[in-house]
């Protein structure tokens, strides 16, 4: 896949950097303030998961232009420990970090499309899309 830009997640501040870049890109695409907040929040959750569970990884952005639709695709990738039970992490309130357990199910609700691929010992890739309405 050909991404316009990626943010490497290595330190905590990169979470803020990723969501600020994501917000800038979504503003340029034409998203309103509410959707900008949704997209930035989703990026923040995805980037924090990388930082917390994999240590390092990256978040990439792509502007989507279909026939008459515009949108943004965000891909969060890491080569961390992977997720053993995906259905468990998609449950509201499930957490291993002492957080609110709102992360992934929250991201799914904030975005229009949500795909997750994870292999134990190899890493995790989460792709989300938000369409401009």
């Amino acid at each position: 896949m050909d991404f316009q830009s990626c943010v490497n997640i290595q330190k905590e501040w990169d979470i803020v950097g990723a969501r600020q870049l994501g917000r800038d890109i979504s503003r340029k695409i034409g998203f309103g303030t509410v959707d900008q907040a949704r997209i930035a929040t989703a990026i923040s959750e995805l980037a924090r998961n990388i930082y917390l569970y994999a240590g390092t990884g990256k978040v990439c952005f792509e502007t989507l232009e279909d026939m008459n639709k515009k949108g943004i695709r965000i891909v969060a990738m890491d080569e961390g420990p992977g997720i053993q039970d995906i259905s468990q992490v998609m449950e509201d309130g499930f957490t291993t970090s002492g957080g609110l357990g709102a992360g992934l199910p929250g991201v799914k609700r904030l975005m229009d499309e949500f795909d997750i691929i994870s292999h134990v010992g190899e890493g995790t890739e989460i792709k989300v899309v938000k369409w401009l309405r």
Binding site: I15, V16, A102, G106
Partner: protein
């Protein structure tokens, strides 16, 4: 980065005007509790008018600081939560039901006065 905490009579006033990273949020939690302890403040207003994103981590830190302050004997009111932030929090599944809130700083101070029956 440190968030300034202002004292006004028995109250502490905080206006968060930066994009909060995790470390700054945790530092703020500590600073506020310390300031409550030192100043003997009975009420705190945290104004979030300039905050345009609250993710689950920041929400947890804010919710925790309200509970922690309460344990110490100080009431906290969160004010100025933006419409986009409120909508995003509900999408995330975060309801912050036990957290006192008000529309703006002025309403926040009125609410504190009522809660503290001053």
């Amino acid at each position: 980065m440190r968030i300034p905490i202002l004292k006004l009579h028995n109250y502490l006033l905080i206006s968060i005007q930066i994009d909060l990273d995790d470390q700054t949020a945790i530092q703020f939690q500590e600073d506020l509790l310390k300031k409550i302890h030192e100043s003997g403040a009975t009420g705190v207003v945290i104004d979030l008018t300039s905050v345009d994103i609250i993710d689950s981590f920041i929400a947890k830190v804010l919710g925790d600081v309200v509970t922690m302050s309460d344990l110490m004997g100080a009431k906290v009111v969160l004010t100025g939560i933006q419409p986009a932030v409120a909508m995003t929090l509900i999408d995330l599944g975060i309801h912050m039901q036990d957290v006192p809130t008000a529309l703006d700083l002025e309403q926040g101070l009125i609410k504190l006065r009522q809660e503290l029956e001053e």
